[in-house]
């Protein structure tokens, strides 16, 4: 099993001058340490207009900055929103290829279509069309990377023959993924030979079924790219501390803040009824809870919050149902002090990662004591 981290770039109110820079600087510091500790990947999301929960509207720029400061860690761009009002597919291909060149061939590209009216409405996108535009994009982008020139007459975009440059450094091209939050999207991923980027935090039982469907179906795929990326990557929270009580306290603060902010957005189904956004995981959870009184939130099974032993147990469960990678949300609106986030990463690398076949951390990694000194 491989491990990574994911940045939402969530920014606490009030939005004082410099607060976004502080959050971005902290993300970069976390990514640099994760690289030194042997984490495999760092992802940066693409979100727009989502105050507090995600100020990460230009993830390729954040990842480029990380690329310049790291050596091994892979860089996950995404999900890149495959909707014309957000980005032309050639722009996605160009930005991803440049990231791949800058990083010496470490880019990975996630694709998706957004789930909020906050974002889709902000760009005046048509929610009925986003599945179709995503499909057209994921078939186009690998060809833009691998063909000397590209032209297209299509539904969501058309373009005359042009050389789309630069080309990615990786041969034949970076791995492609798709965000899987709605039931059935795992089939879309499998049919196209795409990696399954499971964005539903927790929900092991549901994920197990999704993964089994994905594994079965991908055997018969017609890949959109030059190779099949059969991998399952899930998103999880992570806070690791020797004292289980402290870990639970801090971890609950992290997940509670995230879970409080996420539903403040306006979901498509609330405002623009369409079968293209039938009940999905996040929204159905919101709807289910919306008729109850508001019980205090609990940390569900499978969440990587606790001492090293409990994290190993949780992650072994994910491994047993077929998860190849887990990427961790480390903080939300800076709830956890940066020094504690870094210590949590170090402890995870030292105590948890060896249980999954990762080599022990080299001795040269700076400790919190070094930072104080």
């Amino acid at each position: 099993m491989k491990f990574g981290i994911v940045f939402e770039v969530s920014v606490p109110r009030p939005f004082r001058p410099g607060v976004e820079k502080m959050v971005v600087d902290n993300c970069i510091e976390q990514a640099v340490l994760a690289d030194q500790l042997g984490f495999d990947q760092v992802w940066a999301v693409e979100h727009h207009f989502l105050e507090e929960i995600s100020h990460c509207s230009a993830p390729e720029m954040l990842l480029a900055a990380i690329a310049m400061r790291t050596e091994q860690i892979r860089l996950g761009l995404g999900i890149a929103v495959c909707v014309p009002q957000f980005s032309h597919p050639a722009r996605i291909a160009e930005r991803a290829a440049m990231l791949d060149v800058l990083s010496g061939g470490r880019a990975e590209i996630g694709t998706g279509r957004s789930a909020t009216w906050t974002e889709l409405g902000g760009f005046a996108a048509d929610p009925d069309e986003t599945k179709k535009t995503w499909d057209e994009y994921v078939r186009a982008i690998p060809r833009m990377w691998t063909q000397p020139t590209y032209s297209h007459q299509g539904r969501s975009f058309s373009m005359p023959e042009r050389a789309i440059v630069p080309k990615p450094l990786q041969d034949p091209h970076p791995p492609l993924w798709v965000a899987v939050t709605s039931p059935g999207t795992e089939v879309d991923a499998a049919d196209r030979g795409l990696g399954c980027l499971g964005l539903v935090v927790g929900g092991m039982k549901r994920q197990e079924k999704t993964i089994a469907t994905y594994r079965r179906r991908i055997q018969l795929c017609d890949p959109v790219g030059s190779f099949v990326n059969e991998q399952v990557n899930t998103v999880n929270f992570m806070y690791c501390h020797e004292d289980p009580a402290h870990a639970m306290k801090r971890g609950a603060e992290l997940s509670d803040h995230f879970n409080y902010l996420a539903p403040q957005q306006l979901f498509v189904k609330e405002i623009y009824p369409t079968q293209s956004y039938a009940t999905d995981g996040l929204f159905s959870a919101l709807r289910q809870e919306s008729t109850s009184s508001g019980d205090s939130m609990k940390i569900p099974d499978g969440i990587a919050i606790g001492d090293p032993e409990s994290l190993i147990r949780s992650l072994k469960q994910w491994e047993s149902i077929g998860v190849d990678r887990v990427v961790f949300i480390l903080n939300s609106v800076e709830t956890i002090p940066q020094a504690e986030v870094l210590d949590s990463l170090r402890l995870f690398a030292r105590e948890v990662m060896p249980a999954f076949g990762h080599p022990p951390v080299a001795g040269s990694v700076p400790t919190s004591a070094d930072e104080v000194a």
């Binding site: 609330e270 623009y272 039938a278 919101l286």
Partner: protein, 246 residues
């Protein structure tokens, strides 16, 4: 932490809800055309009580309900709601309600806290467009229109529970009204919403029509289960009243 509403809660104008709780009321069959619109963020904050967060982005829902059968006879209800969150839960805050049947208006006011005022409410259903409007004493308040209705799956539509400000034996509260909807048909189309300045809260002036739907539904208005202190965040100020009121 997201913004909270900034409304200075004034109980004087809120409906008085009697003691003893409420009994469910079945409204069947009903037609239900809401028009969804963006509205200004500052306006949305100003009309929401401090218990609630605004949605991001702010929205107002301009809604008409035509009920063929109810305990109070047929009636039409026009309402204006603001999209909100009670902590993490999807809600709509009821700002205005216009009803054309005094018995229904009294029942909705006294049992569920709808701030009903008597009005002329009309609905015109065509194949090319569906129009509705509300007027008081001959002066139009607002009108909504759905253009080019296209059938969509009945499971696609969602109605958030309503939060209604009312004077209760427990004090001034937000009543959570979460009707049960049995949706039979739904059509969606383009939305047009117009309001007469001064007739409804100008802070909710529609700025960006989003969608309109026309649904045929059976609605059951439930007994109130939860109430909320309008001046406290909903996560702190919500009470379950089903155990103590009868």
């Amino acid at each position: 932490m997201p913004d909270f509403g900034t409304l200075a809660v004034d109980a004087a104008g809120a409906p008085a809800v009697g003691p003893g709780g409420t009994q469910p009321g079945a409204l069947t069959p009903a037609t239900h055309p809401p028009g969804n619109c963006g509205s200004s963020g500052a306006g949305q904050l100003a009309v929401l009580p401090p218990a609630l967060h605004p949605t991001s982005p702010p929205i107002a829902i301009w809604q008409l309900l035509q009920v063929e059968e109810s305990p109070w006879g047929p009636f039409r209800l026009a309402s204006i709601r603001v999209g909100a969150r009670a902590a993490t839960k999807s809600r709509s805050f009821l700002v205005n309600a216009f009803v054309d049947n005094p018995r229904a208006g009294a029942a909705l006011r006294e049992s569920w806290g709808f701030p009903c005022i008597e009005a002329d409410v009309r609905l015109r259903v065509g194949h090319d467009r569906i129009s509705g409007w509300a007027s008081v004493a001959g002066a139009g308040c607002f009108d909504v229109e759905l253009e080019d209705p296209t059938p969509i799956a009945s499971g696609s539509v969602y109605y958030a529970p309503s939060m209604n400000l009312a004077r209760t034996p427990r004090g001034t509260k937000l009543l959570q009204v979460d009707p049960e909807y049995l949706v039979k048909t739904v059509a969606r189309g383009g939305a047009q919403v117009r309001h007469r300045p001064g007739a409804v809260d100008d802070r909710l002036a529609p700025t960006w029509p989003i969608s309109a739907t026309f649904a045929t539904v059976d609605i059951t208005l439930p007994a109130i289960r939860f109430v909320c202190d309008p001046d406290l965040p909903a996560a702190q100020g919500t009470e379950n009243v089903t155990q103590t009121d009868s």
